[in-house]
């Protein structure tokens, strides 16, 4: 038996969601459904009604189950790179950004400091990749700095991006750098919204600073951490433009990611259907990982 109150609440709830839902229905739903539908077709990308061929699961077979041995291998290597980038980005970004957010919160007159941390977010246009190439080059700043400091073992002779084993490190450095300011702002807002009285109560109870941090601050930051993880995970799995400009997937395919494969197939080889199949396969994976991280964090909180 549904109560009248529940019906009223439901109507009200949906009224509040209405603008968002209408917007999604008008400019989101079609492209999502059409794109999923496309993944079961052979289509070059122009005039769907006239030229698309239904191919069932062939597209998925092609790169997931060895339909093309090479493309299957490349896809999973790319996916592995996505996972590595996502994992290490999150691994480094969260503690660094959290630390910086603490610093800024506890510093008086932190205006200038905030602007400095904010800079990478603003400067995230394409031009920044030129800066990275110069930094990582064989005679770039990084190598010269290591030499000058006597840390010869850290010098990568061909430059960080010129060695298949280290190129991914260069990519991760750029994603960490680009991820810090946004994450910091999120944590900063999270920290600022924590009720001061909680700390005061903890202090009265005689809890140590570390204990307060672990038992009060961190649990309250967990919801925002989930958002950050999903956000960074998504960026890592959809990465295209920065890899394309930074390494082109090289050397020797060492930094290929699914995004570069999707682009090549969709817009260079005119296999749009195949490319969407790749994109949605990754969607399923990231959705699973996101739900998993939500579950992990939630059960811990309770």
């Amino acid at each position: 038996m549904i109560s009248r109150r529940k019906v009223k609440e439901t109507v009200a709830g949906y009224l509040f969601c209405l603008p968002a839902i209408l917007l999604f229905l008008s400019v989101g739903l079609y492209s999502v459904l059409f794109s999923v539908f496309l993944s079961f077709h052979n289509w070059a990308g122009v005039d769907f009604a006239g030229t698309a061929r239904f191919v069932g699961l062939d597209n998925f077979r092609y790169f997931l189950f060895g339909g093309s041995a090479i493309n299957t291998r490349i896809f999973f290597l790319g996916l592995f790179n996505n996972i590595r980038i996502g994992f290490f980005t999150i691994f480094f970004v969260i503690p660094i950004a959290l630390g910086l957010a603490f610093m800024v919160t506890n510093t008086k007159r932190s205006g200038a400091l905030r602007t400095v941390y904010f800079l990478p977010l603003v400067a995230s246009g394409v031009g920044i990749f030129y800066v990275w190439r110069g930094l990582f080059g064989a005679f770039g700043f990084l190598n010269r700095m290591f030499s000058a400091l006597g840390l010869e073992f850290l010098v990568v002779r061909e430059g960080l991006l010129g060695n298949p084993r280290t190129a991914i490190i260069g990519v991760i450095i750029t994603t960490v750098w680009a991820g810090i300011p946004g994450t910091m702002i999120l944590y900063y807002a999270g920290l600022a919204s924590i009720d001061e009285t909680l700390y005061e109560a903890a202090e009265i109870d005689g809890a140590s600073k570390v204990k307060t941090l672990w038992y009060i601050t961190w649990p309250l930051l967990k919801p925002i951490t989930i958002i950050i993880i999903i956000h960074e995970l998504n960026k890592a799995f959809q990465m295209f433009e920065n890899i394309w400009v930074l390494t082109g997937g090289g050397p020797g395919g060492a930094t290929d990611v699914v995004g570069t494969l999707v682009f090549k197939n969709a817009f260079e080889l005119q296999r749009y259907g195949l490319a969407t199949a790749m994109g949605w396969s990754v969607f399923v994976l990231t959705l699973g990982l996101s739900l998993l991280s939500m579950k992990l964090f939630r059960s811990e909180t309770n």
């Binding site: 709830g13 999604f24 400019v27 030129y130 800066v131 702002i185 919204s193 009720d195 959809q238």
Partner: protein, 257 residues
């Protein structure tokens, strides 16, 4: 580490194009400061027009995202309605939609609506794209504010819209500021989507205007970097101007929360 690339951009913009291409590793120009590049860029860049376009687009996106998704976040946090969980998870899943593969379908969608080459056609998908993330943040934030606030206001006979607009939104300044920063910067720097949806140059933004400054046979990084400064500096100024009131909002939010 944060400053470094930025200092480098300034340094490169002051080099000759040869030095910029030849020795990207150095920061300060060897061959003297070439302020002429800035003059060249300024003379060829229709700054005021592109700036107004950029501002219009970014501000519209920010206002749209905040207006539409704060309401939804509020509903998901405090109103107990059927199917809430499904709506929430469904929207979060939208964050993960593979952007590159929906590009062409999305474009066709906008054409069908008659919105190709319009500001609305440019802006609506960007708002929709920023939505899930904003909903996520708003919902969490509103949830972290006590529900008692909500209950007592209801008992006082406040309408839901009133509770949302008068009680919860003023408390939400920290999260509004965060979302504003994210969406402002990403739409300010956006290049791909504007180029696909626009047929004429009427709504070209600063980054797009800068991209077409340089018509030489190879990359003149000094020109591109000088151009980039014209795009980056306004955002920094806006951030510095706004951060004071943003900070005040943060503190106020903390106290009231």
């Amino acid at each position: 580490m944060c400053l470094y690339p930025f200092v480098w951009m300034i340094g490169t913009s002051l080099k000759t194009s040869m030095e910029a291409l030849n020795s990207p590793a150095t920061i300060w120009p060897r061959d003297g400061f070439q302020f002429g590049t800035y003059a060249e860029v300024w003379a060829r860049l229709d700054f005021s027009r592109y700036f107004v376009n950029s501002m219009t687009i970014s501000v519209t996106v920010v206002l749209g995202v905040i207006a539409v998704y704060s309401m939804m976040g509020f509903a998901l946090a405090h109103i107990d309605f059927a199917g809430k969980k499904f709506v929430f998870v469904g929207f979060i899943a939208l964050i993960l939609v593979p952007g590159l593969t929906v590009q062409i379908p999305l474009y066709l969608n906008m054409v069908a609506l008659g919105l190709a080459d319009t500001l609305l056609g440019l802006v609506l998908p960007v708002i929709n794209g920023g939505g899930p993330f904003a909903v996520f943040l708003f919902r969490n934030y509103f949830k972290s504010l006590s529900h008692e606030l909500f209950d007592s206001a209801r008992i006082d006979g406040c309408k839901l819209i009133g509770i949302y607009a008068r009680i919860y939104m003023p408390l939400a300044l920290p999260v509004i500021g965060t979302i504003a920063v994210f969406n402002f910067v990403s739409s300010w720097n956006g290049i791909q989507w504007p180029l696909i949806i626009l047929r004429t140059r009427r709504w070209y933004t600063l980054p797009l205007g800068i991209m077409y400054l340089d018509q030489s046979a190879f990359s003149r990084w000094n020109v591109l970097m000088a151009g980039a400064m014209f795009s980056v500096v306004p955002v920094i100024i806006i951030f510095m101007l706004l951060q004071k009131s943003y900070m005040r909002g943060l503190v106020a939010g903390a106290i009231k929360g």
